[in-house]
Each structure stands twice: as C-alpha cells, then as structure tokens.
Amino acid sequence: MPESSETERAGEPAGARGGATGGGPGRLLVAVYGIFALAATARAGVQIATKFADAPLAYTLSAIAALIYILATVALARGGRTSRRVAVAACSVELAGVLIVGTYSLLDPGAFPEPTVWSGYGAGYGCVPLVLPVIGLWWLRRTARREVRAAGGAARV
C-alpha cells in the first residue's frame, strides 16, 4: 500500500484541500472525537436505561454530552460549509459544557452522584474533554483560513 502515498506527495498534502476538516491531522482529531462519542453514548445509554430516576439532571447532561460528541465527530469528518458551522457550534457548546459542568460539579458534588464525562473538567478522562474542544476550534479556524486562501487563489486565476 505505500505506493498510493505518491499521489498525495504529487498533489497538495492532505488537509490542505478545501473543507478537509477530517483530513491530515484532522484524521487523528476525528478519531479521538469518535472514541469520546462512543464512550459518552455508551455511558449515557447505561445510566438512562438502568437508573435514570437516581439523578435525572446528571444523566440528561450525559445524554446531551453524547449527542454533542456525535455531532462534532460527524461534522468534522464530513467537512464542507454546513458541517463546518455545525462543528464550530458543537465544539463551542462542548467547551461551554465542560467549563460549566466542571465548575458546578466541584461546587456542588451532590448534584453529580456518579461522574459524567464533564465533571471535574473531565478529570476522569485525563482532562481530554477540556482540551479537545479547544483543539477542535483551533483546527476549524486553521482549515477555514486555508480554505479562504485556496478560494482567493482560485479566483485570481
């Protein structure tokens, strides 16, 4: 399979193509988002199915977090104008969520009898949930600039 990499080297590097939020380093970002989408969905599914009445607020938040991770994963993987907007929205909500839930869970631990992905700023997941949306938004900005530059270059030709 190594031979097919030559087409990549002959053309632009992956990720430089317009709208390629899921290409190049974005491939890695989407993979990490995918893992979190899976983890959050599984966790929320089990919580809601087995003991929703114990802590409706925490478990509803778990479900919302799962939904946001799924949205971000799919939007980043797809790329393109609409997906880019969806991804920016999802990453922003995710960042706000991890900051709000993280702070709230430290101030009032009783509200979260069982940790969610975002409690303690995602400390249970190596604080990756806190770093992930920041990297996501940075990557979206970076690829958006490339896209504008590519579009500008095309217009001049």
Partner: protein, 120 residues
C-alpha cells in the same frame, strides 16, 4: 475478568499502537502491518466477549453488569472503525488513528477490570 486475557489484550493493543506510531513517524500511510495489529486486538476482544458472556451467564462478575456489558460490546467497534478511518487517509496521519484506537482499548480494559472486580 481473567487477568491473563486482560493483560494479553493490553499488551497487544499497546504493541499495535507502538507499531502504528512508528509507521506514522516514518511518514508512511497505513499498511498491512497496521491492519494486522488492529486485527490481532480485535481477535482478542472477540475472545473476551465470548469468555465474558459465559462468565456473566454463570453469575460471575459485577452485581450490576450493565456498564460492563456496555464496555464488552462497545470496545469491539474500535479496531475496525479505526482501520476504516485510517485507511481513508493516505498519509502519515492514517496510522495515528490506530495509535488512538490501541491506547483507547488499553484504557478501556483497565476500566473493565475495575468494573469486574467492583473496585470502582
């Protein structure tokens, strides 16, 4: 669950991650070695599903097995999804997906052991 199997999965998952990490550092796209690594992890995870199901059916394991069963099944999705997603990228960033997948599997196995023994 069983320490031997859990240890084997963690070791193989970390080896697969290391192998693909080297592929990425060598600036190569995903090749057969990376696919084989992920395949070996998946094979062991399938064994784990079988062993875990039998043990659960005999009443072993956590008192409330829902979370454990969730892990047992969900973890099977990671290697094949990683291979597919990584193969779509014909650059060094393809094998990095297997690095993430391998590390994620290793962490999940540690967590599953805690759930099984009831220490978390």
């Amino acid at each position: 669950m069983t320490n031997v199997l859990a240890t084997a999965i963690i070791v193989v998952a970390l080896l697969a991650a290391a192998f693909s990490g080297i592929t990425a550092l060598r600036d190569r796209p995903m090749g057969w070695g990376d696919i084989a690594g992920a395949g070996a992890v998946e094979a062991l995870l399938a064994v784990q599903l079988a062993v875990g199901s039998v043990k659960l059916a005999h009443g072993e394991g956590p008192a409330h097995p829902a979370t454990f069963v969730g892990y047992l099944v969900a973890i099977l999705l990671i290697p094949p999804a990683g291979v597919l997603w990584g193969l779509l990228e014909r650059s060094r960033w393809g094998p990095t997906v297997i690095v993430v997948a391998g590390l994620a599997v290793a962490v999940m196995i540690v967590r599953m052991n805690q759930l099984w023994s009831g220490s978390a």
